[in-house]
């Protein structure tokens, strides 16, 4: 099997690996008990809406990075006339989308991203209510973990139509 790694991981790793796993989930694990009794909303949770918004913009690029059209500029055919290259790109992309391989995991990520967004905003507004903090942090942990799992379901290689 010809394995051509896609650039998708390069795009989502800073969010999924470094931030979601390495920061949010790790800090929830380490500091969760301390946060429950703190009046200040933790910085990592405060930063969530911005991170999520920033990441949403990358989703389209991630989908594109799984398509073989992402290779065109790295292949000898990059020197073909622009018109021919555009026709190739459009046709190959349509054939790729018809496979319906990339869309379900991308939709899964989008759904889990919405869930994390919702939960993080809810925490932001209800943080002053100390009685609900523990349950809210549990929900946040679950939403973050589900989003991570959704990332791991993405193919790591270019998919040929």
């Amino acid at each position: 099997m010809c394995f051509i790694p896609s650039r998708a991981a390069d795009l989502y790793a800073p969010f999924e690996h470094t931030w979601l796993k390495g920061r949010l989930l790790a800090q929830l694990q380490e500091n969760g008990d301390r946060w429950v009794v703190s009046e200040d909303l933790p910085i990592v949770i405060k930063a969530l809406p911005t991170r999520i918004q920033h990441f949403r913009l990358l989703l389209v690029k991630i989908s594109e990075a799984l398509s073989p059209t992402d290779l065109i500029e790295r292949l000898p055919i990059s020197s073909l006339p622009i018109e021919a290259k555009t026709k190739i790109r459009e046709a190959v992309d349509s054939a790729f989308l018809e496979l319906q391989i990339a869309q379900p995991p991308i939709a899964g990520i989008e759904e889990k991203l919405n869930r994390l967004d919702f939960v993080s905003k809810q925490i932001g507004t209800s943080w002053s209510d100390r009685t609900s903090r523990e349950a809210s942090l549990d929900k946040l942990r679950a939403a973050a973990q589900e989003l991570r799992d959704a990332f791991l379901a993405l193919p790591s290689e270019i998919i040929f139509p």
């Binding site: 790793a13 292949l75 000898p76």
Partner: protein, 226 residues
């Protein structure tokens, strides 16, 4: 060489127990597979005073270290190169990200580790076996051109026209290099010719005719995914 894992179990699906503390390592040369969890990538792991001491001991004893992570190069390409260059290629950061034990990257790494197990201390490490094999660029290029023409017949003519505007030398090189890659994958020149490609220097360098496109697309795809 003895292989030891540091927090890499999730990535590789290995069953052997992992080391949580590097100081537990025996004083023998070994090959470490390190997932630098909790550090700022391979570089952060390397800079940690306690870890650095053990890393140096490992390298001095003829061992080597492979860093892997969910991030390509277990951090940054520049730092990965720096680590490799400063340590006589005894440290390597995996170029591709590894998401979990089910991935093709993990499969390849497990094969690579079997090779490493047979090596003696100080023997060169064949790092290229750990990285994805180079892929047949010309064959992929040709496949995309033909697939586009097959999928969108109404655009086939303008793609052919674009192809025809390229220099003869360029077209010949792409096709002959693609044929080499086709043969490297166990397919024959005879089959190549039946797909409508020409190999004769005196013939015009053209793409297969419309009626042969489906067959050519199918054959190239089989070659790419076999």
């Amino acid at each position: 060489m003895d292989i030891r894992f540091y927090r890499a179990q999730e990535k590789l699906g290995i069953v052997r127990p992992e080391l949580e503390v590097l100081a537990d390592l025996p004083a023998v040369p070994c090959f470490w597979v390190v997932h630098p969890v909790g550090y700022s990538g391979a570089w952060g792991f390397y800079l940690d005073e306690a870890m650095n001491e053990v890393i140096v001991q490992c390298l001095n004893a003829g061992g080597a270290i492979l860093f892997l992570s969910g991030t390509p190069y277990a951090g940054s390409a520049a730092r990965a190169n720096q680590l490799s260059n400063e340590h006589r290629r005894r440290i390597h950061c995996l170029n591709t990200s590894i998401s979990g034990s089910e991935s093709k990257v993990a499969e390849r790494l497990l094969r690579f580790l079997k090779i490493v197990e047979e090596l003696k201390p100080d023997e060169p490490i064949p790092w290229k076996e750990a990285e994805p094999a180079s892929w047949p660029q010309n064959l992929v290029a040709l496949y995309l051109v033909l697939k586009a023409m097959e999928y969108a017949p109404h655009d086939a003519e303008s793609i052919r026209e674009g192809w025809a505007t390229m220099e003869q030398k360029w077209r010949r090189k792409l096709l002959t290099d693609a044929l080499d890659e086709y043969e490297d994958n166990g397919f024959s020149e005879h089959e190549w010719l039946t797909l409508g490609f020409s190999c004769d220097e005196n013939e015009p360098i053209s793409l297969p005719p419309a009626q042969k496109l489906p067959m050519a697309v199918d054959a190239l795809k089989r070659c790419l995914v076999h």
